[in-house]
Symmetry: C2
Subunit: 316 residues, 2 copies
């Protein structure tokens, strides 16, 4: 009685509404005229209103049929598009990609990587959020993100996650412009080590934190941590305010805050690793994104980020 109306019935309505001729519409539907007549009658009975005006001079739409036509066209068209959605999603070309990232990578190659990914994956809905390592690990647990860039070595992420070294860059020293060290071309470890340090909290970026502390200890110094801050922006602001010096990834030098100068100190041997992390096994769209980042990483020449940190010498 009030069984739901199937797409078959709407397709028959659509063809008849377009042809306005039972015989031709039936032929286009790969059927004969009598069953089409019956099907349309049944549809009209279930809707409780006629959809076509039959007369000897042809078939015409009633007002109800005319009102239905555009809606049915949309419905049938939408239904025809569903298989493509499924196939595209299975191939990683459609769907949703929830991506988290630490702020530092956003000053580096991430925007370009995203732009390139969008070009070839227009039907993937990208959902971006900035988050630190600990927040991202929790988000993986609760299935709130699909992938993320973290300040961490690829080998150090939990085993349930896949990881790939997305970016390895030297750490450079951020100094207040007014600071005496800012004018020297040759820095000495004891002078640098004596300065108060602005740094990430250890839980946010353990590998970066540990690397900096190890370098200080290797030179026999103990760092004085003046302030901890989570955002790159905040760290640079604190340096600008004269709170101390900071070791930051080289790409962050793009943040040209007045009152801050950067010094590249290759001799310090300090570097920072950003990994792309994802839940294993990777669903197709995540796999596509990982592959894209791997390819983009070596494709376009790396040096396109403006070097804004003057190089200085470092002596023990």
């Amino acid at each position: 009685m009030n069984a739901p109306i199937e797409l078959r019935a709407w397709r028959q309505f659509l063809h008849l509404a377009e042809d306005l001729h039972f015989g031709r519409a039936a032929a286009r539907l790969h059927m004969t005229q009598p069953p089409l007549t019956l099907a349309i009658q049944a549809l009209e009975r279930r809707l409780g209103t006629p959809l076509f005006e039959r007369s000897r001079r042809g078939v015409a739409l009633t007002p109800a049929g005319a009102a239905l036509l555009p809606a049915v066209q949309r419905l049938v068209h939408d239904a025809e598009g569903l298989p493509r959605i499924a196939q595209a999603a299975a191939a990683g070309q459609a769907g949703r990609l929830r991506l988290a990232f630490v702020s530092s990578i956003a000053y580096g190659p991430l925007p370009e990587w995203l732009r390139g990914f969008r070009l070839t994956h227009a039907d993937v809905a990208l959902q971006l959020r900035e988050a630190t390592l600990d927040v991202q690990l929790a988000a993986f647990d609760s299935d709130d993100i699909d992938a993320g860039f973290v300040l961490h070595a690829p080998g150090a992420v939990p085993p349930a996650l896949g990881a790939w070294l997305a970016l390895r860059e030297p750490l450079v020293l951020a100094l207040p412009q007014a600071h005496p060290l800012a004018t020297k071309r040759v820095l000495r470890w004891p002078d640098v080590a004596a300065e108060p340090l602005v740094i990430f909290p250890r839980e946010i970026a353990p590998s970066l934190f540990d690397a900096v502390l190890a370098a200080y200890r290797a030179s026999g110094a103990t760092p004085r941590i003046a302030q901890e801050a989570i955002q790159m922006q905040t760290i640079v602001n604190l340096v600008s305010a004269g709170m101390g010096v900071a070791w930051v990834p080289e790409t962050v030098t793009q943040l040209q805050r007045p009152g801050v100068v950067y010094r590249a100190l290759p001799a310090a041997g300090l570097a920072c690793e950003t990994s792309l992390v994802w839940r294993e096994p990777a669903v197709p769209v995540v796999q596509r994104f990982v592959d894209h980042v791997r390819r983009a990483q070596r494709g376009p020449a790396r040096g396109h980020v403006a070097r804004t940190a003057r190089t200085a010498q470092l002596r023990p």
Copy 2:
């Protein structure tokens, strides 16, 4: 093989995606588990990709299934709404109403009638256009409009059309403000009749044209037609420019053009009829509109249009 996928299959997918449990989903679909298993398998085969991940700890959506879910929800929801569209259209509560009108009625009760009709027929798409009688009659022929307001007596429209006297209003005299007649309280027919006349062309509004000419002839005068114009706005502008005087429907006095004054001359006995016209037999939405206008015509008190024409006496 590539037979189209029916709504039945999408409904089954939808219920399973919501329950993530074959047994319960089957029960909600008023069927048993085995045919649902088969149906989902067949759907996955036809799409060429699995939609569900079956494991002992439950059923989960694959990326393809997850991408499909919102689209299928929309599709099934849209399909469920179609019967309502058909029924509403059959009752005249949905669909499209293409309405033409002469400019004069737009200064009168038409806006209020349309506002009221919209309130009770929110799902009717109103398509309005201004057009003169001759254009409207041609548009009825080519099925470009469903109904129209014309400056014509209801009895004078072609027999294939239904008609209803929507508005009967006196004609008032529009005079240039600087004109000597504008200062007098008593006008004489010979003086009025001697003035050059601005009027509609006869094919645009035959009944109005003929009524004016008959009045002139009854008083023994022959009107001097200075200018013909189609738009009310244009006629008033020509009067303002001193081209002559014009007889216009009373509601047009709402057009307060500087340099024009209006004089109501009841003794002239000149009136103008606006009819609502439609193709017979009226389709439901047109019938609803006609009924609405009939009711609105006597419902709200008529005098709400500001009287802006001073009454003057007219002597032979």
